[in-house]
């Protein structure tokens, strides 16, 4: 059920008054929004081929639905240009996949935020940032697409902080959490190429990101040096679960690893093997759960890299979302844990602006 049918709100012909009106209605993330004037919403809708009543996502617990029109209104409010809209739509279609569990991942105390990773030519076409200050401010496309996701969660799905969004601490990505995969100087196939979409298609991958851990290593000059640093972050006692991982490797680190001939899958396998804690170690911090160990070490269903007596992060190397991103200088990669103690949200991807295998 749509929360409310679309209607026009009239305010005095004054931009600041309109912004204040949006605040008064509770339609913001705490920052001013762009008042969604009708003509801007209509311009946004030009970038979606389906009727504006089309439902792109529905909330499994409340039944609230997000239509193309509602998404467009919130994209305008977030400051998106119309050409960004297909990314917003594709992201919500990915979040709408049951395995993403967007109710749990957006309502839980865990405080995760949907991280969007855009891969392919569209990132460059739109002018997205995949390089210096990747997760920081300064790029309208990254900032406003990520913000549109949050405004839709608040305004359409009523994920209200403190009421239906019970994040214990939240995380800064809940304002906006959207990056592009770096193509320039990337020695590996792009994420979208591994996702088996047709040539020329770009994709957005959504990942319920539970925070951000910087991995600094300026002295390491072998793949093992660099990757052991990242694996240690992935396996820290505060983060380790059976959940998935997002790893964004800085170009400086990638040069060390790829320069030694390591492929993306080599890196994922190495990280999976190294990102573990022992059973005794898990017990020492009160986080050991037998059923999690059994799930990872199940007879006949155990990844060959899983070792007895160890709890690895994730179930297989493919539980690691690995992309290149960041500026040319600096030995700073990052690890982002997925939401939840278990595997309650799994990353999903969708092609942007095209319909593949649709009815």
């Amino acid at each position: 059920m749509p929360l409310d049918s679309a209607r026009i709100h009239e305010v005095s012909d004054d931009l600041l008054a309109a912004m204040d009106y949006c605040f008064e209605q509770g339609w913001t993330d705490g920052l001013p929004v762009v008042p969604p004037r009708v003509e801007r919403v209509e311009e946004m809708l030009q970038f979606e081929g389906r009727p504006q009543e089309t439902v792109i996502a529905s909330h499994p617990a409340t039944g609230y639905e997000c239509t193309v029109h509602a998404a467009a209104v919130n994209a305008v409010m977030a400051g998106c240009k119309a050409e960004y809209f297909p990314v917003v739509i594709a992201a919500f279609e990915a979040m709408n996949e049951p395995d993403f569990n967007f109710h749990g991942s957006t309502a839980s105390t865990g405080g995760s935020a949907p991280l969007l990773v855009v891969s392919g030519e569209m990132a460059d076409d739109l002018g997205m940032n995949s390089e210096v200050n990747l997760f920081g401010p300064g790029n309208r496309v990254n900032a406003t697409i990520g913000r549109a996701i949050r405004l839709i969660l608040i305004n359409v799905f009523r994920m209200i902080p403190g009421v239906s969004d019970k994040s214990t601490q939240g995380n800064p990505g809940k304002f906006s959490f959207c990056i592009a995969e770096r193509r320039r100087g990337n020695p590996w196939p792009l994420l979208v190429e591994e996702q088996d979409y047709p040539d020329g298609v770009s994709s957005v991958t959504v990942f319920a990101g539970g925070g951000f851990c910087n991995v600094e290593n300026h002295g390491g000059n072998t793949p093992e040096h660099v990757l052991n640093s990242i694996a240690d972050a992935m396996a820290n006692y505060g983060c380790i679960t059976l959940g998935q991982s997002a790893v964004v490797m800085a170009p400086e680190h990638v040069r060390v690893v790829a320069g030694a001939g390591w492929s993306r899958s080599d890196v994922k396998e190495y990280l999976f093997k190294q990102a573990y804690r022992t059973v005794d170690g898990m017990k020492s911090v009160g986080k050991y759960r037998q059923r999690e160990y059994d799930k990872q070490h199940a007879d006949g269903d155990t990844h060959p890299l899983v070792e007895d007596g160890k709890l690895h992060r994730g179930l297989t190397p493919d539980d690691i979302l690995l992309v290149v991103g960041g500026g040319d200088a600096g030995g700073h990669s990052c690890f982002i844990p997925s939401w939840s103690r278990a595997r309650s949200s799994l990353m999903q991807s969708k092609p942007i602006g095209v319909c593949i295998d649709c009815d």
């Binding site: 617990a61 409340t62 309502a107 009421v163 239906s164 019970k166 009160g286």
Partner: protein, 72 residues
């Protein structure tokens, strides 16, 4: 809360248990589902880090509250 009310709507009695910090959230879901006064059991928070004897005390209290709701 959603599951509890769904059971009731299917004709099956149910009791929802909720720890204190989630009271507002539970009330919000109950209101949204058209039963703003739907009663539920309140339990002290947290649960996960308590010892078994402590849990037993909480469970006994929750059981008494649940009986009261079911007998209404």
């Amino acid at each position: 809360m959603h599951d509890g009310i769904s059971f009731e709507q299917l004709g099956k009695r149910a009791v929802v248990l909720c720890t204190e910090p989630f009271k507002v959230t539970a009330q919000n879901i109950a209101r949204m589902m058209g039963l703003p006064d739907y009663p539920f059991v309140m339990v002290e928070h947290p649960i996960g880090s308590r010892s078994l004897p402590e849990i037993k005390v909480l469970a006994e209290s929750a059981y008494e509250q649940a009986l009261g709701i079911l007998h209404d």
